[in-house]
């Protein structure tokens, strides 16, 4: 889901843009150390592969078909940091030359698909992997990667004050779940085929499956529940949240000078309040997931 320009409110755009800039810079540094000097051809070719792979259809049921999204497969083959860089480059090419996703919204799209999506995929591959479990690990990587990216995009749109009626929200989540399952199935099938075509292209993984499984289920349930709550409580529930925390007062001071006509025309008055509360929700979600991750890793090493 590529967010176009003109959809995100300035605070959402700014925060995600800054986060992406820092994250991609760190990933680029790490990728430079992880790969030897053939990295640019390798990463560039992998990026071109993801574009070309969109032309290969994967039949589902009743004449419908899907195609590879690629974030998880890149994380599995190249490693997480190089995959973040390649995905960022793909999204930038799509925004500039295919009019798929906005240029100002690139920060948000990079955050969703190149950072969160790839990291979720890479993490699942590591957590699940192990002897005899690689297919399952690839499936989890693909599904989680697609699901994380789509839920984040939806939450950001909601945090920017875009109204998504309940029925449409349910439909969207249903479509996301199907897309995620399909991406998982495609990633697993391609990874399995890749292992027989040329073993050694898949990254190494050493996970302890059983504990990782329960931990992962827990984390994904938390993520899904929190994401759903953020999205479905908008726009009404967040106002209460904002009032409870006291963002309401802050908003007037910030809003006074820079863009006087902006709020009335574009978001109907209280966009900063909504956006602030939405962002707060995102941060809480991230913190919960981070804490769960820490707990799981400590549990696993104990």
């Amino acid at each position: 889901m590529h967010i176009p320009d003109g959809y995100l409110s300035p605070p959402v755009m700014g925060v995600l843009g800054a986060a992406s800039l820092a994250g991609v810079a760190a990933a680029a540094r790490k990728a430079s150390q992880a790969l030897d000097e053939s990295r640019v051809p390798l990463m560039g070719m992998a990026g071109a592969f993801v574009f070309a792979a969109q032309m290969i259809n994967f039949p589902v049921a009743a004449g419908a078909s899907g195609h590879l999204l690629g974030g998880a497969l890149l994380a599995i083959t190249l490693g997480t940091a190089p995959a973040v860089v390649v995905m960022t480059a793909i999204l930038a090419i799509q925004a500039l030359l295919f009019q798929d996703g906005g240029v100002l919204a690139l920060g948000a799209n990079v955050f969703n698909m190149a950072m969160a999506g790839v990291a979720a995929g890479g993490w699942a591959w590591q957590a699940f992997g192990g002897p005899g479990r690689r297919r399952l690990a690839a499936f989890a990587a693909g599904s989680l990667s697609a699901l994380a990216a789509a839920c984040l995009a939806l939450a950001e749109l909601a945090a920017s004050g875009i109204r998504i009626p309940g029925a449409a929200l349910g439909l969207a989540l249903g479509i996301f779940a199907l897309t995620a399952l399909l991406e998982g199935a495609i990633t697993a099938a391609v990874a399995a085929a890749l292992e027989s075509v040329q073993p050694g292209l898949l990254g190494r993984t050493h996970g302890s499956p059983r504990r990782a499984l329960s931990g992962l289920l827990l984390a994904s349930l938390l993520l899904a529940a929190a994401g759903f709550l953020i999205a479905s409580s908008l726009p009404d529930g967040l106002e209460h949240l904002a009032e409870a925390i006291g963002i309401t007062g802050l908003e007037r001071a910030v809003l006074a000078a820079p863009m006087p006509d902006y709020e009335a025309k574009w978001l109907g008055g209280d966009w900063l309040q909504k956006a602030g509360a939405g962002l707060l929700g995102l941060i809480v979600t991230a913190a919960v997931c981070w804490a769960a991750g820490r707990w799981i890793s400590r549990w696993r090493s104990a």
Partner: protein, 202 residues
């Protein structure tokens, strides 16, 4: 969903090689101006009135304005869904904004890319401090996009000719072969670059 990546997707390559006054401007100015136009479009309610401006500039630079207008329309299906939801919720001002903002933004981006070769845009972005590795990878992707797309299309045709179309396993095997082949190609390209004493973005 699965459309062929080919000729019309590379139209920017052809348009951006023109010699008009707009093509000759420094890419840094054009990139900065495009970003400013995007910001204004995103923040100002009256920016819709500037919609003809990118098209007039395109005409002045002897670029096919109708083709740019058509390319920018690629954002409309996505935009229409959310605009429709806002409209149904009774917020028609918002619905209109959700349609024209992405479209006018896409017009500005199309004008930038039609008047500036990609490598100049990337070099300008590098001067503005964008991560160099990402820009080099972008350059490489654009260079090999057509090559790998053609290969993917040939594989698709070959699979169909063998009567193996519409199977999950065949598609997965095709992608695995394509991935392994692109990996080998990348190593060959790297050796060729070394033989030619480097390469890539200046």
């Amino acid at each position: 969903m699965a459309e062929r990546i080919g000729g019309r997707h590379f139209a920017f390559d052809e348009w951006s090689r023109g010699g008009s006054w707009l093509h000759r401007l420094d890419a840094r100015w054009k990139l900065a101006a495009a970003l400013a136009a995007l910001l204004l479009t995103a923040l100002r309610g009256e920016a819709w009135m500037a919609a003809p401006l990118p098209l007039l500039l395109a005409l002045a630079a002897r670029l096919p304005a109708h083709a740019l207008a058509w390319r920018a329309a690629a954002v409309l299906p996505f935009a229409a869904v959310f605009a429709g939801m806002s409209w149904l919720a009774g917020d028609s001002t918002r619905a209109a904004a959700l349609l024209w903002r992405p479209y006018v933004s896409a017009l500005w981006v199309s004008l930038l890319m039609a008047a500036t070769p990609l490598e100049e845009v990337l070099a300008a972005a590098a001067r503005f401090g964008a991560p160099r590795l990402v820009l080099e990878v972008m350059h490489f992707i654009w260079r090999y996009l057509g090559v790998l797309s053609e290969q993917a299309w040939r594989m698709r045709t070959a699979a169909a000719a063998r009567g193996a179309d519409r199977s999950f396993e065949v598609s997965a095997a095709s992608l695995a072969v394509l991935f392994a082949a692109s990996y080998q190609r990348a190593l060959r390209v790297h050796r060729a670059q070394l033989a030619r004493n480097g390469g890539g973005l200046r």
